[in-house]
């Protein structure tokens, strides 16, 4: 390839061909259309056992979360609430996202230790604990696209260009812009700032 830059041409040929084994080693990501999903399968019961062993310490036996570690289940119907509970069941639009993330990033501190069957099983259990499948469900590459995610239609592309930019691109008011101003909240009252030894 030829790279052109101001005044000078540099012949390319930098880098070396990526080998198929190398691509295979790193190309682990999964897409919503199933691209990347390996062969394999796992059922809820197997998943429950695995989850209990390797995930529950942080995420709770049913994915309900422990302390500040993330909740993975529940929260159905809370998205319009004041404190929405966003979980795989209540929020995630694609099942592929969960398979991908669990397989590449979890368990936290020992990432990339789950094989494909284990990942299918754990995810089957998480679907079960989110009330999305029955206890005899088996997740596999084939059953993958049959799972309906409740919030699949809950996302829309960034619309700021039409909903906000016109509104926020008006000539700004410079003088006498409002009548009166009252303070309705003080951060000091909350006192959550780590500003002394006790915090």
């Amino acid at each position: 390839a030829l790279i052109l830059c101001a005044g000078t041409a540099t012949a390319g040929d930098l880098g070396r061909p990526a080998l198929p084994q190398e691509i295979a080693a790193w190309d682990l990501d999964i897409r919503p259309d199933g691209m990347g999903l390996p062969e394999g399968a796992g059922d809820v019961a197997t998943g429950e056992e695995l989850f209990s062993e390797t995930c529950a310490a942080c995420h709770g036996e049913f994915g309900e979360g422990v302390d500040r570690w993330p909740k993975l289940a529940g929260g159905d119907g809370t998205l319009a609430d004041d404190d929405p509970q966003k979980t795989i069941g209540s929020y995630w639009p694609y099942l592929s996202t969960a398979w991908d993330y669990i397989h590449r990033a979890m368990p936290f501190g020992n990432a990339r230790s789950l094989d494909a069957d284990q990942t299918y099983a754990i995810l089957a259990y998480l679907l079960y604990s989110n009330d999305l499948v029955d206890e005899d469900f088996v997740l596999s590459r084939d059953s993958f696209l049959t799972v309906a995610m409740p919030n699949a239609d809950g996302f829309f592309p960034d619309d700021r260009a039409t909903t906000e930019l016109p509104l926020f691109s008006q000539p700004p008011c410079m003088a006498d812009c409002k009548q009166e101003v009252t303070i309705r909240m003080h951060a000091t009252v909350l006192d959550v700032t780590p500003d002394d030894a006790a915090d």
């Binding site: 990526a18 995630w92 936290f108 906000e164 509104l167 700004p172 003088a175 101003v181 303070i183 951060a187």
Partner: protein, 401 residues
């Protein structure tokens, strides 16, 4: 008479011993040039550091700390105190072990070594990096009491790197290639989908910041620089770029970094950081220690869509606004420094700043944003911030009507 009086007063005051007495440093030696081959700030500045908020997260390896913007000036952020956000800690990845793979819908899947990257034509640009969650706590109203905590998930550095388009040209993108997956090498398996238009525009594969090698905590040896777009996309320890025909919808672009509206539906792909500004001094951590008289109001402004055209400052909670003075470098998608120099009468102030960028966008109030987005967006809070300056010089984060 007035000046005679002043002179009398001056004579009456005791001379300052710091002047009349010879100090040690006037007499004897300080440190030699071999003392600090690589220097740190002087011990008197020990408070100007990154700070984290322990209760925010379960563990420090997936957490954030904040730039001490209340104590900084100008526009450049020194690496040593530039905020960190990791999802599995800052890793130690030697240059010799570094590999960057480009594959997918390309003519030639390639692997680059670190040294390969240094053979491509390079560019230098100053850009801000703001975490999309910066100021996110403020959706619920005045929370953390200090701009380091409310607005400190930002830094501004001069990056050196290779335009991503040059690397992609080596591999040869196939016509179906419309999206990239960019992935980091750390255990968080950080990955984001990047539209090809941005990738071919101004994205850099960067290896230096402020002249020196990227710091470990900022992605040594190589990170992505995605100008004007949310910090999460600036993948650190960049190891892989896959070209595809559709977005990947990974965890950091579905479960996280999506903005939930009042009706429970969520915006995704909210990449650009809207124009924003913050008064860094006075601010809760930078109280006013002098009485009435000359006071410098200093702040930062930025926009993910261009440069800053103007900043307005209000002393009365947004009733009236004055044009601030911009001083220092003005680059697209970079921090700008603004000042308003006032003569303080010692009375209570409700300080606000409002940025206007080169597209004409005017930074909105928090309530304007809430009217559209509700209060559970978590991300992309760029509303106008209010500081209450009390007559005694204390400053507080407040929310006003």
């Amino acid at each position: 008479a007035g000046s005679a009086l002043a002179a009398t007063a001056a004579r009456a005051a005791p001379p300052d011993p710091r002047i009349t007495e010879v100090q040690d440093w006037n007499v004897s030696w300080g440190d030699g040039v071999d003392a600090t081959p690589y220097g740190l700030p002087i011990h008197h500045e020990a408070e100007v550091i990154r700070r984290n908020v322990p209760w925010l997260t379960a563990d420090a390896v997936s957490s954030v700390n904040f730039t001490p913007i209340h104590a900084l000036e100008g526009t450049i952020t020194p690496q040593g105190c530039a905020f960190e956000r990791h999802h599995a800690g800052a890793i130690d990845l030697p240059k010799a072990d570094y590999r960057l793979m480009i594959h997918g819908l390309v003519d030639r899947p390639l692997v680059f070594s670190y040294d390969d990257l240094e053979r491509f034509p390079r560019q230098n640009h100053v850009y801000f990096l703001e975490c999309a969650a910066n100021s996110g706590m403020e959706w619920a109203g005045a929370q953390l009491n200090g701009c380091q905590f409310t607005h400190g998930m930002i830094h501004n550095m001069e990056y050196t790197g290779v335009p991503l388009r040059a690397l992609l040209a080596e591999a040869g993108i196939r016509p179906e290639g419309k999206w990239l997956l960019v992935e980091g090498a750390d255990a968080s398996a950080m990955s984001r989908s990047l539209p090809i238009e941005k990738a071919l525009d101004d994205v850099l594969v960067a290896y230096k910041a402020n002249g020196e090698a990227l710091r470990k905590e900022h992605g040594y040896p190589v990170r992505l620089v995605v100008p004007g777009w949310e910090g999460n996309m600036w993948v650190k320890w960049l190891r892989r770029i896959e070209v595809g025909d559709a977005p990947w919808e990974h965890r950091e672009e579905t479960s996280k970094y999506t903005d939930t509206m009042a009706d429970g539906r969520s915006r995704r792909w909210t990449w650009e950081m809207d124009a924003k500004s913050i008064i860094t001094s006075p601010s809760p951590q930078a109280r006013v220690n002098h009485g009435r008289g000359p006071m410098v109001i200093s702040g930062l402004a930025w926009s993910g869509r261009g440069a800053i055209r103007a900043v307005h400052v209000s002393l009365d909670g947004g009733r009236n606004w004055q044009q601030a003075r911009l001083s220092g470098p003005s680059h697209d998608k970079a921090l700008h420094r603004f000042y308003l120099d006032i003569d303080w009468d010692g009375s209570e102030l409700l300080l606000q700043s409002r940025a206007v960028d080169t597209t004409g966008y005017v930074q909105p109030t928090k309530d304007q944003l809430r009217a559209i987005r509700g209060v559970n967006s978590v991300y992309h809070m760029n509303g106008i911030q209010t500081w209450l300056v009390k007559p005694n010089g204390e400053v507080e984060n407040v929310e006003i009507s």
